[in-house]
Point group: C2
DNA sequence: ATTATCTATAGATCTATAGATAATGC
DNA sequence: ATTATCTATAGATCTATAGATAATGC
């Protein structure tokens, strides 16, 4: 029953990855520890040797997601083969694929609305993650001053998150595609919906 | 134990109102039938004589919320004492009060992200409600053609919903106020963030 | 007599813990 | 000997139902 130290670390990783997927797919309340551990190929009893509580798992798996998004966006920016990183990020964010695959989507679009009902640790993960998202977007967005860029980043990301959520709430409908299309066009830099004073 | 027909109808109303508040405050999974009925001043046993299931209550209470928002906005538009209905709607939507009082806020900002995980009846309530919100906003928003107005309504409401959700996820923070302020400014018609082709 | 609401409870969850098991790693 | 994971279970939920109770309304 006991496994090697390496395997044990790997198991912990698998639990974190599984949680990150299932929470986004089913919501924090939509999946229990027992089913989650089963999905990870383990049994529920071992869970509390690795995590303090379900709340602790929520905080740690979302921390993972937050870091991964930031580093993926930074890679696009650093990659010389990506000519327009903002366009690249916007079109993948506002794609039908990102709307339809809850398990792999942005955590703000599936889970942020539940955050006010959770503990401080979870709230901090979302608050800090949001700050770093906005810092990255600020460097990509148009604007003649720093303040203008920051405001544009906030306006744009708000619209993205709202558009994804509403497009899912409108699903089965032409409206759903329409919302994504509008948000995509709004993010096309020139002549865009972004504010200029 | 039996009450008058009038009182019985009133009780049903109270349950719907209580549900509308508690679902927004705690999420669909965050409140059980038993506690909900207790909040309404009743006991849980009678619930299923009035509603088919919890899912049925979700659909019906959200239907209520949806109709109420539409009629309140329409009143502002019809009221000659409100000189700028869009500004009035935007500033109350993006107020700190609306951010902080979950129990009375817009259902799209607290509950829409959970909709894809629910049944068809609930999905339809949100889809139809969203359509009517957009129809109202389309009449208020700038734009030289119908298509442009509709696109602007979609862009604006997406930003509003996203801004509220993110401002709550960023709570305790200066960032939270900043997000609301940006969205408010973005909605001030002239020189606004709204798209013009 | 009818029926709106009550009490009580079945059966299925859920989070968390206790202690057994068996393989690792000293 | 240590310990990662397992089985089993406590105790608290949750949705939904059954049948009792007592006031309405014919």
């Amino acid at each position: 029953m006991k496994v090697t130290r390496a395997k044990s670390i790997e198991n912990r990783e698998i639990v974190l990855e599984t949680a990150a997927r299932l929470f986004r797919e089913k919501g924090f309340d939509g999946i229990g520890i027992s089913d989650l551990m089963k999905s990870a190929g383990l049994t529920s009893g071992g869970f509390y040797k690795n995590f303090e509580s379900k709340e602790d798992l929520i905080a740690k798996s979302c921390q993972r997601l937050s870091e991964r998004t930031a580093s993926r966006w930074k890679e696009h920016i650093a990659n010389p083969e990506v000519p327009n990183p903002l366009k690249r990020i916007a079109s993948s964010y506002l794609s039908e694929k990102n709307r339809d695959n809850l398990a792999t989507t942005c955590m703000y679009s599936t889970l942020a609305a539940e955050v006010p009902r959770h503990g401080k640790a979870v709230q901090e993960v979302f608050a800090e993650g949001l700050e770093s998202v906005l810092e990255i977007l600020s460097t990509l967005v148009p604007g003649s001053t720093e303040e203008e860029k920051r405001a544009n980043a906030i306006a744009m990301f708000s619209q993205w998150v709202g558009a994804l959520i509403l497009s899912r709430a409108a699903s089965d409908n032409m409206l759903s595609d329409e919302i994504l299309a509008v948000a995509r066009e709004g993010s096309h830099l020139e002549g865009s919906g972004l504010r200029e004073r």
